[in-house]
Symmetry: C2
DNA sequence: AAAAAAATAGTACATTTGTACTAATGGTAG
DNA sequence: CTACCATTAGTACAAATGTACTATTTTTTT
């Protein structure tokens, strides 16, 4: 037996990513799956329910991904770059959320709460990471704390809205977008590097 | 005689900023103004028309603002900070565009074209500004060109989506939001400063 | 096998929205 | 004054949507 609920989530994710959340109703999703909208409604009362479930999926993905790299003692810049790329890939998978973040949070207020509570953990981890990289002589040690905090906010905004920027500007598709914005996100950290850090970065420098 | 067209734009801007573009139809705007929607339709066929006009208003504002500061030969960091603040204030004025940027460009494709063509000029001016600040010993001279270009992209994303971030996170109101995100935007440049530049910056440092 | 529960299809209806259209009003140029 | 044009109000209707509900079929449980 195929799990209808899962089929619905998959189809909804696809349609949301392609056409946005306003254009899509349960009727559209039902049509995509060739089932009745009455049936779909039996599983999820409306699109907002589905959006919430998909947001939780995204969150679980992130959590798995964060705890995964916790045990590593030392961090190279290359690790960090790789980490940023995976982050963006995740975001790409659920891009409708980020492309319509304000609408999403207005339509499903719980999402705002979820996002904000989960966010705090992310901040801690960032500061830890920064400190590690400072200790290893990769990041500069002459940056005041409020600038590090600023960098985290900056990093949030950039990660959350990079794909929106892509949408209104270049319109890179799939892998290309992930690559490009991975690079942009990573390059954010360049001026924070020490000479040693820059050497490491230049070794692996991608397109510019 | 009061200009009905202008009254409509004002009311639409207010409603869009308050409730977003999906929630608002010409009927809502008409109701806000106590005129018939038939009348409103006579002036603007639909909300997309109004959105386009408002976007052009925003653009004109930006253009005025850019050309204004062109003639100044020397640039201090304080000038620059002030400039960033005015930028954000502008954006706040027309925040519905930035809060729903993807939707806006999807509903009114011309806006994407307008944004992109106007964008190029902005890029030139940034590079010029950076070079001036480097020559004056305020910005570092050991940053490769692709990182400066990256910084411009970064600056776009940050400016365009700072208010979206505010919406899903802290929800600062009016002046508070403008102040906070002005600071965030300005702090982006901190690690690009020379020792001399940092001195200048610290003199006027705001909240942290 | 019978009963109960879960899943699916389909209907019904009030509301909203986009769009087009008609009618009335008011100012103004000739 | 009157004929014309711009402006305003209001009506009409099809399509889409949210929501609730019924009927049927399928699956599971006992």
């Amino acid at each position: 037996m195929v799990d209808t609920k899962e089929k619905i989530r998959k189809a909804a994710l696809k349609l949301f990513n392609e056409q946005g959340i306003d254009a899509i109703t349960i009727r559209h999703i039902a049509k995509e799956l060739d089932i009745s909208h009455g049936n779909l409604q039996y599983h999820y009362k409306n699109t907002n329910d589905i959006i919430l479930v998909l947001f939780n999926e995204l969150n679980e993905g992130f959590s798995r991904f964060f705890t995964h790299r916790e045990n590593s003692g030392q961090v190279t810049l290359e690790d960090f770059r790789h980490w940023v790329e995976i982050l963006i890939e995740h975001i790409w998978q659920y891009r409708f959320i980020f492309l319509h973040f304000v609408e999403v949070t207005r339509r499903v207020p719980e999402i705002k709460t979820l996002y904000n509570s989960w966010d705090k953990a992310r901040e801690e981890q960032f500061l830890l990471l920064f400190n590690t990289l400072i200790r290893e002589g990769i990041f500069r040690d002459d940056i005041p704390p409020y600038i590090w905090k600023n960098l985290i906010t900056q990093q949030y905004i950039m990660a959350d809205f990079a794909l929106s920027h892509n949408e209104i500007k270049m319109q890179l598709k799939g892998k290309k977008a992930v690559q490009y914005y991975g690079q942009v996100l990573f390059n954010q950290f360049y001026p924070y590097l020490t000479a040693k850090g820059r050497q490491q970065a230049d070794k692996h420098q991608g397109i510019n």
